[in-house]
Amino acid sequence: MRRTIVRAIYLKELRETLRDRRTITFMLVLPLLLYPMMIIGMSRFQQNMEKESAQRTAKITVWGEAPAGLLQLLKARNFDAAVNLGLPGTLGEQLRMGEFAQFDAYPDAEDPDADKKTEAMRDKASVHPLVNAARPLVLDRKTDAVLVLFPGSSHDGKQEMAILFDSVRQDSRRVRVRLGAALDEFRKQVLQSREQTRGLEKGFTAALGYEARDVAPKLRRSGFGVSIMLPFVLLAISATAGFYRAVETTAGEKERNTMQTLLCAPVRPIEIVVGKFASIATITLIAAAANIASLGLTFNNLSRQMSQGSSLGPSQYLLVFVVLVPVTFLTSALFLAIGVFAKDFRDGQNLATPVMMLTMMPAAVTMLPGVEANLYTVFLPCVNVALLIKALLVGEAKPDFIFLTLVSSAAYATLALLFAARVFERENLLTGGKDTFRGLFGFGDRRREVTPSMAFVMFCTVLVLLFYGTSAVKIDIRFLLVATQYLLILGPVLLAVLLMKLPLKETLALRWPGWQPMLGAVMVGLSAGAVASLTLRLLTPPESLAKGLQQVMMLDRVDIPIAWIVFAASISPGICEELLFRGFIQGSFRKLGMGVSIVLSAFLFAVAHASIYRMMPVMLLGLAIGWLFWHSRSVLPGMLAHALNNGLAVAVISIPSIRDYFVKNKLLFLPLEWSLAGMAICGAGLWLASRAKSSASDTVQMGIGPNQ
């Protein structure tokens, strides 16, 4: 891939976009105008309405005989109370004679059948003669609510009342609330006067009182409002901003036949994909930034005006933007790939719209109250980002959630980009023809080796399987650990080898490397832990992680024999993880060169351990094992080193005398001298393994090596 060509394509795409008024409007003008107009305008409107309605005299009608003092209190509280307005004579007579009883109280919210019962009671009330009589008065706005006073109580008894109101009309709803508050006040007055007459202590009848106070800090409170809407809006914008450009630059170019002009220039498909992808991602990110800025400024301005706590700072918004980057890449790559399938622009819109809806709809779920990020959602594309943004805004995003969300989103984005690159290699599609699913995904090709894209797809599959597999199944940890290794890690690898009819030994580098690399592996395996311990000094993991690790190593279980622990936590990972990360994945990266293949596979190895705190130590181990694999062209030294490394960790924690030494000396990590000695041994092991390189490549050159 040539950078100058990618740059030329990128700049040309950007230039075209910037000359397209539709995109510019959508990207910049719309967000800058829309939010202030919508949010400030609407909140002004609402404020005015509230002000008006607060100042407005509430019109109510009182049916029945009002107890002394109630009408004065209502008048003082700005109620315009008409007595017996619109009450038909016969009905009034019936009410006075006590023919109507109080309505039943609605059931408790705790009641499991509350909804059903409430609905039945509503139906019953709707045919009540009093309700029938009140309905036209309230609906015709002659009154906002009717207060029914049931007779039949003595002076010291309980006065039953009912408020009849219209739940659809706002004025009526408000009056119901105000009336309720006025009646509460009236009740207090009555109780006080009863206490006085009876000579009871003040508060005797109230018995208890309480007030509630919010513990949420200002930042959390002010973030909450934004957090409901912002994630969905941002994802929707990210999905739609790149949408037009992606369809235009693929289906549009096909329609105008400019795609074939581009293809007959000396340009590689991958350069076209990357150039176009980068331009779409740029446009989308600009749109996202404009939206975040406009929405942020509007909200902050609004909350300042309404003096509702402090505003969110730029750092929160910046974080939100960063989180949005991988999801932007995902949608850009996806639209780019889908656009190619379309014959023309219109066809492209038709094809890409369902995909856009699919990305946006799950994100809409995040607007529901109570939906929060958890370990299950971090792997759901788009939803994870929406939930993370929500958590960031209320200040409760945990580092592990951020890490896992970013990692999984980046993985999805990479998959989408690989898909786009694959689509752009299909000339039939680019020149207006059709392609089969089989052809597109290369199922028809008889490949004899694993490609880096296949390895990456395998990595993502295992990652998702591991995640959901281990959280969904509830079996004893001793079996779970072994099942995870063999079914979720090794299983997919073997299945892929079987389905693609790949040669097992060559694909997974199962060959004897000679004694020298194996000796090197022993040295690496025994010392890597001591080296990795250095990284713990930089980023000390929380106690919960250490506990979790102990659980994984089954050290909290005295009933499990040590041999099983060694098998499950040391030998099995040594075999299964090595076959995946070195045999399958690093083997496929071999063409990318030593540095890239070792670092990339070590990185994926570290990411798969799903914790930001374990990232560095695991990465170090991965680098060392990757080195062994590169030089020995065999997966066996890695297996040995990996198993020894894990076995040593098990030994350190499970052998009482060693554990006691650590506890007694309050050691969180190994002493520095140990780490330094470890480095020396590890380095010697790596050197020893690399010395064996010449013999390994000689074998290959002679044509008897399995990789030949």
Partner: protein, 243 residues
Amino acid sequence: MTNGVRLACDGLVKHFGAVKAVDGISFEVHSGEIVGLLGPNGAGKTTVLRMLAGILTPDAGEVRACGFDMKTSPLEAKRQIGFLSGDTQLYMRLTPREVLLYFGELFEMPAAQRKQRAAELIGSLDMQSFADRPCETLSAGQKQRANIARAFLHNPEILILDEPTTALDILSGRFIVDAIRAQRDSGKAVLFSTHIMSEAEYLCDRIVMIHQGRKAEEGAQAEIIGRSGAHNLTDAFLRAIGE
């Protein structure tokens, strides 16, 4: 390399699904000649030209441009070719000059050289009046001139032109035809497809006729007319395709 083979294809085959669109086509184009590719609609002309330009990969057979194999050295091979088709449009929001500079970059021409070459072509193809207007405002003839300039830009040894005068009026069509002749005279190898017989008669040194994906006839105009016993190229063409 005077009169040497510039463009050669051998045994080209291309399927679209179950349909065999091109079936074993072979021919050569030499420097300083215009070869006309004639055939009725659906004969496979466009598919052959796209394979020659490196836009489509043949299922079998090979293409060589100035000795470079399209399969093994596609970038080198494509550098030798200028491709133009009648229905190709331009980037509507760019100006012709910008289009030329963009393709100059794709052909990895140094900045100064591509500017100079663009100016040169704008002058020689009489494009000064519209070179800096967005392509969406240009007439069909103006657009095709800009397209021609784009195909000539990197001064390729081979020109592959797929019905370049389609949808053009007589004046614009003649302008393009003259430009093609000028290229031939300067030693370029030109492969030209058309269904306008008069244009083929006027332009082509040699003719390759294809029908239903196969080569039906090949030779100089006079030879083809002589072999078919017809009086003109149109009749010879009709006989060759069995009408």
